[in-house]
């Protein structure tokens, strides 16, 4: 069977392996603190997950994308079912102790199903969008795909897991874009959300509303679409303060702290300040592997998961950050190439969906550590400690390699 295929995208596999090795060593380093904690031994567990993930990824490459498309519906249904189950039996862990993102059996936490659900949603979206003869052109035509994302999204927001929710939205918009949805439809679909954010300043919101009306006048969508968009914007703009009040105080603080870290230096701002201190004090070349003082002395919070990238920055400096970001750039550009070369719309959309998931994770996680994004607890692919996520990442690599091997032209061409 293998002989029938073109070779897989070996450079992509290499980049993924390099990132994984880099990430694993950072999980090891994250455990090297002056006062030892449970983090010390986590790298071994992570290594086991890497092995498992790589093996699972390899198994995927042995399959075919037709099979992937065939399992997309059952996988999606199963994913939604598990997410629904979590609402009732989910467990919290670590910093997200109050959420219900963990699946546990008999007190043993098995994993975070939402990580695998991402892949299922990507497959399902690709299935739905790829099956259509043309890209959705109206809000009405967006409804099927929006439903596909909306159901798991609502279940995840109910956990509540704001970070993963953001990733779902990122994936959805990226895949709509890849499917060829026009920019103005994307804008109109997104407009209520923008209203929600801008509603905190009446002036900004007013200005946004004028822009929105101008866009509507320019592109002249169906009348009912215009009504829905304006109504949606008005509603969310008005509801925003109410929604704000419904956020947990810690979520409100996180958002405020993003605007001004020093507003709460001891509590919520503490993470951000210490993260920036760790990054900044790394300098050009860093303090050396395992030697970061911010990490060693536990000033850096969650150094093995959400804040693992500051460990890179502290111990390897700007040089290390550049290498890590270059590897990520290579990974992302390479997956875009896989999407371009895919032989079917489904495969192409799957590849691009995976790219967009990684991209969202990367931007939100790394952006958060350096203060460009608000603090939302989402992990960094290949780096953050976490079994389900590592498994999901390597399943994704496997899918990409599979798609690349079925694509047009030579897969491992640079």
């Amino acid at each position: 069977m293998r002989s029938l295929r073109l070779p897989a995208d070996r450079p992509l596999a290499l980049v993924a392996l390099l990132l994984t090795a880099f990430g694993l060593s950072m999980v090891y380093s994250a455990g090297q603190t002056d006062v030892p904690t449970f983090v010390e031994g986590l790298w071994r567990i992570q290594l086991a997950w890497v092995v498992l993930g790589v093996m699972a990824g390899y198994v995927i490459t042995r399959l075919s994308s037709r099979l992937l498309e065939a399992v997309s519906v059952p996988a999606y249904v199963a994913a939604c079912a598990v997410l629904l189950l979590l609402i009732f039996i989910g467990k919290g862990a670590g910093t997200a102790a109050s959420t219900k993102s963990w699946l546990a059996v008999g007190g043993v936490r098995l994993g975070q199903p939402s990580e695998l659900a991402k892949i299922a949603v990507v497959l399902m979206l690709a299935h739905v969008l790829g099956a259509a003869r043309r890209a959705p052109a109206t809000l009405f035509e967006l409804i099927p795909s929006a439903t596909v994302v909306g159901i798991p999204w609502l279940l995840i927001m109910a956990q509540p897991d704001l970070g993963t929710g953001i990733v779902f939205i990122g994936i959805y918009y990226a895949m709509l874009f890849w499917a060829g949805v026009s920019w103005w439809l994307l804008l109109l679909a997104a407009s209520p959300g923008i209203s929600l954010i801008l509603a905190f300043s009446t002036g900004l919101w007013g200005a946004w509303f004028l822009v929105l009306l101008a866009v509507l006048a320019l592109v002249r969508p169906a009348r009912w679409e215009g009504v829905v968009v304006v109504a949606g914007n008005l509603m969310l703009g008005v509801l925003a303060p109410l929604l704000w009040n419904r956020l947990d105080p810690y979520q409100q603080r996180r958002l405020l702290v993003f605007l001004d870290p020093s507003s709460d230096p001891r509590a919520s701002g503490y993470h951000l300040i210490q993260s920036q201190v760790a990054i900044g004090s790394g300098g050009l070349f860093g303090k050396g592997f395992t030697l970061g003082s911010q990490k060693r002395l536990a000033f850096l919070p969650e150094q093995q998961t959400d804040f693992i990238f500051p460990v890179v920055a502290e111990e390897f400096g700007f040089l290390g950050v550049s290498i890590a970001l270059a590897l990520f750039a290579a990974l992302l550009l390479r997956t875009i190439r896989v999407a371009v070369r895919s032989s079917t719309p489904f495969a192409s959309l799957v590849a691009f969906g995976i790219t967009s998931a990684w991209f969202t994770h990367l931007m939100v996680n790394v952006g958060m550590t350096v203060g460009l994004m608000p603090i939302t607890g989402i992990p960094l692919p290949f780096f953050s400690y976490g079994g389900s996520f590592m498994l999901a990442s390597w399943l994704s690599v496997g899918i990409l390699l599979l798609i690349s091997s079925e694509g047009r032209g030579r897969a491992d061409q640079l």
């Binding site: 003869r133 060829g180 900044g280 300098g283 002395l297 536990a298 371009v340 192409s348 790219t355 460009l372």
Partner: protein, 590 residues
């Protein structure tokens, strides 16, 4: 979906461009933090990591003129805590309280220090009892946040003997910390609070060292001495003019029963040999926080042990001031040493409708000025005062330093009480116009009335009598070159006065205090005081040997009844000082 290769290519370019752009923004943010703002963040990381633990410095020693130790330092322990919150301080004190009793004052002190400077390790216990230190050291693992270190503690080997001199040390107060004169001091540090400790704080204060410890985010010490220590430095010992042996002798004489003050000094240089105030207190008990019970006992003692009777207490000088009256009259050319007054002494003097008594109801007869000094004849000095006149009398007294501090190098010396010039205005202000009479002249001329003096200032006055009319400034450390010219008499007058003073001890009011082989000159004083009309204060100020004085001694006994009692003490002090000097072992060869 629209899947034309061209469109896909276009979207791929757009997406790739977005990826590159977004990662470039991230990279730029890291460049800013790691390269441009590196210095700031590195400092922040160091601030996070390192805590400066002060290494207390020993205060400089205080030595007497021969090098004997007056104040030194002994080891003690302080317990400090790298606290992050005030609540943490409270909880820590509670935890420690479970091991060893902790008083509310100790808790309050720790909180106070934390509030003043939260960045420094909070000193929980200064001079921690050994039992506590041992208990904490045993449980080192339970208390990794505590820093137990040895700290030098002030110690006065002679304790109460030197209390009037050294004052005491104590922890710097909140008010002092807010005071700009104490800039650079930190909460929990010990400073001089009184006496030499306060006066020479600048020279006695040690320079604190620093020990750097590395702490983790919870403030637990993970590495001691993470960087080289900055060693504490102690200043050179403070060499004083004091004679510790003499000081001990004086304290021994006073014991527990007498109340009063003594100043002994070298008339030529002003060097203070000894200074005593009785009753005393134990300055060692002030170190590291005075126990409340001891403080209350000192405060409620009617004899006021904390009130320095040599420099703060002011007392009517009585007859010892008659020398001032005599000098004023002689300088004005009104009398000479052999002149007599119009009215001989028959136990008193009638002035207007009032009869002013002489201390001796038998009377002194028709005495000369020299005789009046020798026998302290009030009647003579009433008339001499009237002859001088109130205005000139007061001006003369002021010229002799009646309203000046002696200038001794101790903090909070009180200024003597004496009328100001012009006299009329002073009395009008004090009693109201026409509410006083010229009779005040009579009182002033015998050292009573609106006049009270410190012991130190009277010692200073008598350095002028012992020498050539110039007074030396009493100094415990160093010596002031400049001498203050108080009066100028002819050599004959000077000699006459000095002979009269010698006669006081030889055959006059202090005849009972004669010394074998040493001629002592001086003057007794028995001063009425408002506090207790029946129990006069007793003074003696004098010098020895009369022919070539090497020591001036001023003694004041509160409620001492008669100057002769003070004289006995003063002459014993002189004897101890002079005889010891004489019998000092000759240096032998080999």
């Amino acid at each position: 979906m629209s899947f034309q290769p061209n469109e896909v290519q276009r979207r791929a370019q757009l997406a790739s461009g977005l990826v590159v752009l977004a990662l470039s923004v991230l990279l730029a943010a890291f460049f800013r933090a790691q390269v441009i703002e590196y210095a700031r963040f590195r400092l922040a990381a160091e601030d996070n990591r390192l805590r400066e633990v002060p290494l207390p410095a020993a205060r400089g020693m205080i030595l007497d003129r021969k090098g004997a130790v007056i104040a030194e330092n002994v080891p003690s322990y302080t317990v400090s805590y790298l606290a992050r919150t005030e609540r943490a301080v409270r909880e820590m004190m509670q935890r420690i309280g479970a091991l060893s009793p902790v008083t509310p004052e100790q808790v309050g002190g720790a909180i106070r220090r934390y509030r003043h400077d939260a960045s420094r390790p909070v000193v929980l216990f200064t001079d921690a009892p050994f039992r506590l230190v041992a208990a904490l050291e045993e449980r080192r693992l339970e208390f990794p946040e505590l820093i137990i270190q040895s700290a030098p503690k002030r110690w006065y080997p002679d304790s109460s003997v030197v209390s009037a001199l050294v004052g005491y040390t104590g922890e710097i107060s909140d008010r002092e910390l807010d005071d700009s004169t104490f800039a650079g001091y930190k909460a929990g540090q010990q400073i001089g609070k009184d006496g030499l400790e306060k006066q020479y704080e600048d020279r006695l204060r040690g320079r604190e060292g620093v020990r750097f410890v590395e702490v983790d985010a919870r403030g637990r010490m993970v590495r001691d001495r993470a960087r080289g220590d900055v060693a504490p430095a102690s200043p050179e010992a403070l060499r004083t003019n004091l004679d510790l042996d003499l000081q001990r002798f004086i304290a021994g004489i006073f014991g527990d029963s007498l109340i009063g003050g003594v100043v002994a000094m070298v008339p030529q240089t002003g060097e203070v040999l000894a200074l005593h105030s009785a009753p005393t207190f134990d300055p060692n008990r002030f170190t590291g926080g005075i126990p409340r019970s001891y403080w209350n006992a000192l405060q409620s003692d009617p004899r006021r042990p904390l009130y320095n009777k040599a420099i703060k207490g002011t007392y009517p000088p009585g007859s010892i001031w008659k020398l001032a009256t005599a000098i004023t009259a002689m300088e004005a050319g009104l009398v000479d040493i052999d002149d007599r007054m119009a009215t001989p002494c028959r136990g008193g003097f009638q002035y207007g409708n009032r009869y002013f008594r002489c201390w001796d109801p038998k009377g002194h007869g028709n005495v000369t000025l020299a005789g009046a000094i020798q026998h302290s004849c009030d009647t003579y000095f009433y008339q001499l005062g009237l002859k001088i006149g109130l205005q000139r009398l007061i001006a003369g007294g002021l010229k002799l330093g009646a309203r000046q501090r002696s200038g001794i190098d101790l903090p909070s010396e009180n200024r003597p009480l004496y009328p100001t010039d012009p006299a009329r205005e002073y009395y009008d202000r004090r009693f109201g116009p026409r509410a006083w009479s010229n009779a005040v002249t009579l009182n002033l001329s015998i050292g009573q009335g609106e006049h009270s003096q410190t012991v130190a200032n009277m010692a200073r006055f008598y350095t002028a009598l012992a020498t050539d009319g110039t007074a030396a400034q009493p100094m415990i450390v160093g010596a002031s070159e400049a001498r203050a010219p108080l009066f100028a008499l002819t050599p004959k007058q000077m000699q006459g006065i000095q002979e009269a003073l010698a006669a006081v001890v030889g055959a006059g009011t202090a005849a009972g205090s004669r010394l074998e082989g040493i001629t002592v000159a001086g003057k007794t004083g028995t001063a009425q005081n408002a506090a207790d009309i029946r129990r006069d204060h007793a003074w003696f100020v004098g010098y020895a040997p009369a022919e070539a004085p090497t020591i001036v001694v001023a003694v004041m006994l509160e409620f001492g009844l008669h100057g002769s009692r003070a004289a006995r003490i003063a002459t014993r002090i002189m004897e101890h000082y002079l005889k010891r000097e004489v019998v000092a072992l000759p240096e032998t060869e080999g």
